[in-house]
């Protein structure tokens, strides 16, 4: 059922995102033309055309990034908690699968937006010189990683990269689930559901900041931070990176879990579609 939910979710969102991606790539080609010829020309009309093409590119990039974010919120709210929710929430599908479907498709569009925007910048800047510079920069990055993980211990570099990759995904997922949790709580109120969702969102952030502050004070006062720093000093650089990443991964995983449990609890037990 999750696969089917995702299929229809991709249909619903793809009809917005795919044309936008096309637009980004086309305007990137236009912007490339602008920077290479139009803006350099002696003709004012051609200069103006160049500025317009470049502006169109910037707007298209911004639209793609904003749309991936806006769709993440809009699809959850409109498809599950407004009129379409009457159909969606009476499908023989658990709320867990609804949340997973929305989350996975949102993550997919974020990733696709990232790649399309990266590709667009390649197109914008592409010429032979740029290709050389890019290869040089990539080699530089590899060199830096080699220095960070000496003695030919490449496995650490690969694991650390994977850890960072998973951390980024978990961090974005936590951001999505935080919005889902806020909307799931907000819809359970009898009135002013949107306002309540916004207030709950800020409320969650406020609570997280308070807890973060309290945690920081406890760690500081108890001397735990001193012990941790001392402990990390005894470790080699690659192991320190793994330990720090493990902490970050655990923290974002717990955040995901909390927001997921809040979302599914409210959708299952406090659904209030009026």
């Amino acid at each position: 059922m999750l696969r089917k939910l995702m299929k229809h979710e991709l249909r619903a969102t793809g009809r917005v995102m795919l044309p936008l991606f096309m637009l980004v790539l086309i305007t990137a080609a236009g912007a490339n033309l602008a920077t290479r010829t139009l803006l350099e020309a002696d003709n004012k009309l051609m200069n103006l055309m160049g500025i317009i093409l470049l502006t169109a590119f910037i707007i298209a990039i911004a639209a793609a990034c904003i749309m991936a974010f806006a769709l993440m919120i809009q699809r959850f709210y409109r498809n599950l908690l407004q009129d379409e929710g009457y159909v969606m929430m009476t499908l023989p599908v658990s709320v867990h699968k609804h949340v997973w479907s929305k989350l996975l498709v949102s993550l997919l569009w974020y990733a696709a937006s990232f790649f399309v925007v990266a590709l667009a910048f390649f197109i914008l800047m592409f010429d032979i010189e740029f290709a050389k510079e890019f290869t040089g920069a990539f080699k530089g990055l590899l060199q830096y990683l080699k220095e960070l993980f000496p003695d030919g211990n490449h496995i650490h570099a690969i694991i650390a990269s994977l850890e960072f990759f998973v951390f980024i995904i978990l961090a974005i997922a936590a951001n999505c689930l935080e919005f889902y949790a806020a909307m799931s709580i907000g819809q359970s109120f009898a009135n002013r559901k949107i306002l309540m969702s916004v207030l709950v969102y800020f409320g969650i952030n406020f609570i997280m900041q308070i807890l973060g502050g309290v945690f920081g004070i406890i760690v500081d006062k108890s001397g735990l931070s001193f012990s941790v720093t001392n402990y990390l000093d005894t470790l080699s650089v690659p192991v320190t990176i793994h330990v720090v990443m493990a902490g970050l991964l655990l923290f974002t995983f717990v955040l995901n879990l909390i927001f997921y449990l809040i979302s599914t609890y409210f959708l299952k037990n406090k659904l209030n579609l009026e």
Binding site: V87, L91, L271, L273
Partner: protein
């Protein structure tokens, strides 16, 4: 077996009581009218049966189970408003229903859409309000469900469309299934009803067969409704 049972079911919206200790039991193989004036609690009861609202107290069961994934397999629900995704074409909507409901009969849906001259490639958004309601009803009635919950299926459409909708309901429901039709347009639906439930201010005030009303009280359901709910 009882298809729908409510036990002291209550639902409040803030200080407003929408349902107040409703006890109700519906058996299979009947077309039942859930009749009451506006704001009497009809839609709330149907939403509770679909799990779209959660009760404040009491319980509601579909074939012995609380509204959940399993009950959704048994219930075919027509909401009071157009809730099908408007961006879809009729074809995509059928794909959607076919994917999620094993009891969805695509051929039946295609036949009814074709009968109405609705293009499968046309987006729901481009259809008139009446056509959208017909498409939604066709999807709902193309399922072979145990319980059909139809919330105001004839509200807001012209008399010719009302006739079409009612004939679609009669022509497509499973004989052993129960059809619960919520409406305040009594005279239009009276001819297809086996049983009626009158609801007022969140309480059930009458549950009777249509034959009993005619024989024992010597009046039509419409006339009895006007008498019971006289302002």
């Amino acid at each position: 077996m009882e298809i729908l049972t409510c036990n002291k079911l209550s639902k409040n919206f803030g200080k407003c009581t929408a349902l107040d200790g409703v006890d109700l039991s519906l058996a299979g193989g009947k077309i039942v009218g859930l009749l009451g004036p506006n704001g009497s609690g009809k839609t709330t009861l149907i939403k509770l049966a679909n799990g779209l609202l959660t009760p404040n107290s009491g319980s509601i069961c579909i074939c012995g189970e609380a509204p959940d994934v399993n009950s959704h397999k048994l219930v075919s629900y027509l909401p009071e408003r157009t809730s099908i995704p408007l961006w879809m074409t009729a074809q995509q909507l059928m794909d959607f229903y076919e994917d999620f409901f094993e009891d969805f009969h695509r051929e039946a849906a295609e036949r009814m859409l074709e009968h109405l001259g609705i293009s499968l490639k046309q987006r729901i958004k481009q259809m008139s309000k009446g056509t959208r309601e017909k498409v939604q009803l066709i999807m709902v009635m193309s399922r072979k469900a145990r319980l059909y919950l139809l919330d105001e299926p004839i509200g807001g459409v012209d008399p010719a469309t009302r006739d079409y909708i009612l004939s679609t309901i009669i022509g497509n429901y499973e004989p052993e299934a129960t059809v619960l039709i919520s409406t305040h347009l009594i005279s239009d639906v009276e001819k297809i009803l086996d049983e009626v439930v009158f609801i007022d201010k969140g309480r059930i005030v009458l549950q009777s067969t249509v034959d009993a009303i005619r024989e024992e009280r010597g009046m039509s359901v419409d006339a009895l409704f006007r008498e019971v709910f006289r302002c």
